[in-house]
Amino acid sequence: MKIAILYGTETGNAEMLAEDIMAELEGAHEVTCANLSDIAPADISDDRFYLLVCSTYGDGDLPASAQPFAESMDGSDVSLAGVHFAVFGLGDSEYDETYNNGSFRLAELMTAKGATQIGERVVHDASGSDLAEDIAFPWAEAVVAQASEHLGQAA
């Protein structure tokens, strides 16, 4: 399957995780990895499965590298019908009110344009004891398996 990993980050944790997920999936799939800052809504296509990896900042906001993408999504009439994605969040439960809002908002932006979310959003807690990859690798494996049912023919 063709997989595109897109990350939104400020201090680089999501970027490192995205690269780790790419390394994990590369053997069995055709994987690319890019910063959301380098992606426009029109670049998103239905011939690949998107894995979104995104942190949270400020008051539950998207991280800086995801903000230009979010703004162009808001102002765009692009249709993402037929696009499939899954989302993984990085956050910190110290910020309890806005815990992992960034990844939630990113998923909302995608579905608002007609994209289909595969699987539940899974999140990492920077104040918890788990390593991000220990949660993210099983998540990636599971959503890729689910997606292959949907994308079987296309990819």
Binding site: G12, N13, M16, G58, A64, E94, T98
Partner: protein
């Protein structure tokens, strides 16, 4: 032979420069040199002990050393003479030593006993090897400054011992906080509330404290969205009444003088900018008004003033600056990352335009005693994690001698 880069200062800025360099060219030789036997600068010694999530960024930095080939050259302080040697040995040198000295207010009374800078206090709280002892505080504290550092200090002073569970605060600091005589803290900002430098989330976090009562003055509405967030967060705190300690916010007050009897502080005087003065009686003044170059800073102010291109961090041919050293004491860890990427790009483009000089790089350290390398730091790190007390995630080793003893002990047995 690949080119070599020496980064002086293994804080977040230095580490992010190394990360960007090695991402662009994995063959580069990148060394991170630090005066301390331990890496990560203010992530270890500035970011609050009860904000462990923020310290998670060090996992990226560990990877530099563990997988990307960067080397840690710890326990080496670069002075002017050694800097020349380093410049001769490496193709590029990046000054990323940060800014460690508490900025002074420049008002009368600042040298009275009972006046302490936030940098000095946080270094002592977080077991920095060069820290002075924790100061004796009094009952009534005036905390001057409205940045995140001031709020960190306010929160720690206001927390109950249970609220520090999960932190890496050491035994001495924990006891100092638990037994602190502080009853009353007035936090004073020069700007109006909507222009305060702190982040709204830092203020919101105070709303979770269990043992404090908080008063906030009536605050005017504002048109600025960012200012409105701060005002809302402050209004959310007003009237919080939880316990014996009290916190009062004051805004728009410019420091005029610290007053004292003999050598002790008795109060601090402020002006409101319209001619009126206010005296806040107190026995302790804590200042959190920024940082400047310390004695280890390699003549920083002159170098930055004379920079070839200070935007891109180029001080002189082959000499660069990053982080707080470059930009001043402003900006968080994310800001340093963006800036470090720009500095790295500049270094790489300079490399492209220059022929390789075949400099020795890391070999300059051969035969030099006392260097703490990354494997040594891992031993210190393991000892700190293994030694964590109940309710703590780490036991920081607080002196160079103990750090070096751990390194020496393992050397004997291997």
């Amino acid at each position: 032979m690949s080119r070599s880069v020496a980064i002086i200062g293994a804080g977040p800025s230095g580490c992010f420069v190394a990360q960007a360099l090695l991402k662009a060219d994995p063959d580069l030789q990148v060394d991170l040199i630090d005066r301390l036997p331990v890496p990560y600068g203010l992530v270890r010694y500035g970011v609050a002990a009860d904000h462990q999530g923020t310290k998670g960024v060090v996992r990226q930095f560990a990877r530099l050393f563990e997988r990307q080939g960067a080397r840690f050259v710890g326990n080496v302080e670069i002075d002017a003479a050694l800097l020349v040697e380093v410049q001769n040995a490496y193709d590029a040198v990046v000054l990323a030593g940060g800014l460690s000295q508490d900025r002074r207010l420049g008002i009368p009374g600042e040298d009275l006993s009972g006046v302490h800078g936030a940098g000095a206090v946080t270094r002592a709280l977080y077991d920095h090897p060069d820290a002075d002892a924790l100061p004796q505080l009094g009952r009534r504290v005036v905390l001057v400054g409205n940045g995140n550092v001031a709020i960190d200090l306010l929160r720690l002073l206001a927390k109950s011992p249970e609220e520090l569970d999960g932190s890496d605060l050491g035994a001495v600091a924990s006891e100092w906080l638990a037994n602190s005589p502080v009853e009353n803290i007035t936090i004073v900002g020069r700007s109006p509330a909507e222009q305060a430098k702190f982040d709204a989330v830092m203020i919101k976090e105070l709303g979770k404290l269990s043992g404090v009562s908080i008063t906030v003055p009536d605050l005017p509405d504002t048109d600025s969205p960012d200012g409105a967030k701060k005002i809302d967060a402050l209004r959310g705190l007003a009237g919080l009444s939880g316990g014996p300690k009290s916190i009062a916010f004051r805004f728009g007050m410019t420091p005029v003088a610290i007053e004292g009897e003999g050598t002790r502080v008795t109060g601090m005087r402020f002006s409101d900018g319209a001619g009126a003065q206010t005296l806040l009686p107190c026995d302790t003044v804590l200042t959190a008004v920024g940082f400047g170059a310390g004695p280890e800073a390699l003549d920083r102010d002159r170098r930055v003033a004379e920079a070839l291109d200070d935007g891109a961090g180029c001080l002189a041919p082959g000499l660069y600056a990053a982080g707080w050293f470059k930009r001043g004491p402003r900006g968080t860890i994310p800001d340093n990352r963006a800036d470090a990427q720009a500095v790295a790009a500049r270094i790489l483009s300079d490399f492209e335009r220059q022929p390789e000089a075949g400099k020795p790089g890391h070999a300059m350290w051969q035969g030099r005693g006392g260097i703490v390398n990354y494997a040594d730091w891992q031993r210190i790190d393991r000892a700190e994690l293994a030694g964590a007390a109940d309710g703590r995630c780490r036991h920081k080793i607080s002196t160079r001698a103990e750090m070096l003893a751990i390194v020496a002990k393992t050397e004997e047995t291997t």
